[in-house]
Every structure is written in C-alpha cells, then in structure tokens.
Symmetry: C2
Subunit: 128 residues, 2 copies
C-alpha cells in the first residue's frame, strides 16, 4: 500500500496519516471505498494496531474518512473538504520554512525559485 521510513523524523502514525491522505486526495482510493481494517493494515505494514488507529482517528477528525461502527472505515467525499484558516496558516508556515531552508543553503533566490517550481510542477498531474 505504501512504504514507511523508520529513519524519518516523522512519527509512524504521521507517515501513515500522510500516505493515506495522499492516496485519497489523488483518487487512488476512491470516495466510498473501504479502507483496510485497523488490524489488517497493522499487519500489512508491520505496525502496532494502536498506531494505525491513531492515524485513522486523525484522518476522520480532518474529514478524509468516516467510520461506521462494526462495519469499517471508508473514504469520505473529499470534494467537500475545505481549508480551515488554522490549517492553512500552518501549511503556509511550513512552505515558508522549506523555502527558507533552500535559500539559506546558499542558493541564490532565482535558483531556489527554480527548484521550487520544478517540485511543484511534479504535483500538477496527480491532482484534481
């Protein structure tokens, strides 16, 4: 389904969250589609069920999936997802931080801008 990086600074449950979010938002997991159960996914990616559950809980809180008790977890209608102000500010700050990282590595402004452009361009096709 996806790959984990145990050496990453990101915690495992965050990686699971982000990976699933990507699969959902790019349409690889369609709206209404059933996600693997907590126990099943935990076996697949060799992680504790609690860790998977934490990721699912977070995704539900953010509106990407929904749960029917006793039945399973399903992909929500992501066309309804709208950016709340707080998350938007966080994302903006993260992008500013990343761009600063590029600049402060010694690259010129134009070089950094060029690299950023390439990276963003690669995200053009895999989107809505």
């Amino acid at each position: 389904m996806f790959q984990l990086d145990l050496k990453s600074r990101k915690s495992i449950y965050e990686q699971v969250t982000d990976n699933l979010k990507e699969l959902i938002m790019t349409g690889t997991l369609a709206s209404g589609e059933k996600l693997p159960s907590v126990r099943e996914l935990s076996k697949t990616i060799t992680v504790n069920p609690n860790t998977v559950q934490k990721a699912y809980r977070e995704l539900e809180r953010q509106g990407y999936i929904y749960t029917t008790s006793g039945v399973g977890t399903f992909v929500a209608d992501v066309s309804q997802i709208t950016a709340d102000a707080h998350s938007l500010e966080l994302a903006k700050a993260a992008l500013d931080d990343a761009f600063k990282q590029l600049l402060f590595l010694g690259l010129s402004y134009d070089e950094a801008r060029e690299i950023a452009g390439e990276i963003m361009e690669q995200r053009r096709l895999s989107d809505d």
Copy 2:
C-alpha cells in the same frame, strides 16, 4: 533579538538555530560579527545555557559561525556556504511536503501555486 514560540512543534534549540541562521543569511548579523555569549543569550531569551550551546554547535557544524576558544563565537563568511547534496534533498522534501499540505487541504492546484508564489515572493528582498 528574536522571539520563541513555546507552543511550536519545533524544539527550542531548533528555533534558536533557525532564527540565528536567518539573521546571518539576511545580513542582519554581518560576517565576523560577534554573537552573544552562550550564557548571555540564554539569559536574554530565558532558556537554559545548554540549549543555546546546542544551537551554536549545530550552526558551527553547518558552517554559519565559528568559535575561538575563550574568546567568543562569530559569524562566518557565509558567501562560502554551499549546499551539500543531503541537505538539499531534505529541503526539497520539506518543500514538497508543504506543498502537498496545501493541495490536500482542498485547494485547487492553481490556488496552491498562487499562494506558494506569494510566500516565496516575500523572501525576494530579504536576500543576497
């Protein structure tokens, strides 16, 4: 000198590191200029000396400052700083992650691109 955000997910020593790096790379702290001593800065920003030292050690490792034992810590010649491949990859990944955050918040590709453009534009003047 700068402000800390205790509610941030970033650790304090990382915030100190990043803030100083920004002051250095934007020229607010000139090459050769003396930085506040570990103990002095720790008092100024109300943080443990060990935490400041950790930030200084990191900045020295990355080449932004240098130390003369018994004398003090000084801003290095940052025009010599060059991006190593590994740091560059990390920065690229961070930028990709941040841009994904924007996209997956429900923004259209063009909207995300527009916002990213504005953020990067604000970094144009404060650079070399």
